[in-house]
Symmetry: D2
Subunit: 140 residues, 4 copies
């Protein structure tokens, strides 16, 4: 059952290609993390936040924790969507809940993904730029 509440959320379509599957005939489990990251990246883009510029300024968002439930194996050519919600925003990290669903709302994979803002030179946590934090939290 979906953990997503009524907060601000972002939906991004995913199509399953050969590259995503394995010899078991379903999506290789590590690839769900790629789908989730694509969805978070698109949300950033949608909010007007440019990751390349952040990277040029030696700032990066790095995944520090992930809890994944692989509920149902997605198959070749399926049209799915990742629904992403910001669960919690802290000074130097964001916690997302993300779900890969089909059009009926059936759940394929659910993840709680913690992302930290990192100074890419020292590789240490640093405060998330205020304008980014504002974008994420103004609507939630």
């Amino acid at each position: 059952m979906s953990m997503l509440g009524k907060q601000m959320q972002f939906s991004w379509p995913i199509t399953i290609y050969y590259e995503d599957t394995d010899a078991g005939g379903i999506v290789y489990h590590a690839n769900y993390l790629k789908f989730f990251e694509r969805a978070r990246s698109e949300w950033l883009t949608h909010l007007g936040i440019n990751q390349s510029k952040l990277l040029a300024a030696k700032l990066g968002f790095v995944v520090t924790k992930a809890e994944l439930d692989f509920v149902k194996g997605a198959q070749l050519e399926q049209k799915l969507k990742v629904v992403t919600k910001l669960e919690k925003a802290a000074r130097a990290s964001l916690l997302f809940v993300q779900e890969l669903q089909d059009d009926t709302g059936a759940l394929y994979c659910q993840g709680k993904i913690k992302v930290a803002c990192i100074d890419m030179e020292s590789m240490r946590p640093c405060a998330i730029p205020k304008e980014i934090l504002k974008e994420f939290t103004c609507g939630s």
Copy 2:
């Protein structure tokens, strides 16, 4: 700090190649799940268990849960190892604790990975073949 106790464990070397890294200069987070899966596969092979034969018999091991802590970003050309321990063996699932470490024991990524035995036709859980369960548990 390592969660690994004195139980039976299996160590497998991993070298970081370009394919594993991303534009942040460190290993792309989803790829740690690949390293862990390689290590579990090699442990099966080491125990004389053939996954292709299982698959031909419509049996597969499918990851159903993963909890990952990304502690430190691994970098290009590093020589690391995955240390794998069987935490718990149930009728239809196995719980592994896996750690990506360097030679000094420094921790890069830690995972708790739950693997279920699945009938690949019905995609339903089924009992792990006894000879496999025996191999894993006789030494632990």
Copy 3:
């Protein structure tokens, strides 16, 4: 310079994510083959051809040859497109020319990709189903 002529062609958008890049800061070379395969898959879908059904009937399209020119490294967050043209259709194989371009037509990667129709049980070439061949060639 583009090798694409005036024949029937299919365009598919590609966005560059972290998963596609490597520590060199640009797209990892093998991933251009993934982009090309996505574009061919979407063309099949667009033509009403279902690869999962083909696979269930033990038929698969398998890449047998690829010639790739990596012209310019694509970067994180770029919005590009793959333009695909059918260069030649034979009884058991198709030859595609594919180009990854940006909106100005600048070329990032060009590929000549030969795809054979394979009986997935014997792994031998077999004739492409007529209805598929017709879809591809009626317009070219």
Copy 4:
């Protein structure tokens, strides 16, 4: 049939894991490029050449051309090897011939891979450092 002559060559073992395969039951075609890149990286390492140091000095080896023949699909758990030969060394590029073979010499994939030395800031070709060129050519 093998194109490899009697020149200096380097052999590197590859094991096929789930991550390498797709729903067709064999290795996903793009992944052969990964195997070839691993083998070239290991050859560099074997010759005492450190790619991370090159990258820190803003030098990178970038694949500029690839011609691939996918001869036979490799399968889960196969133990194979990549045999790599330097075909030609120029001022700013190297041409490798690489073959994925099994122990009987049966060929799975053959590639001609052109690698250029690139200034990673200007993204322009530059001369291969002499000490690297010497390592590759002294024995061939």
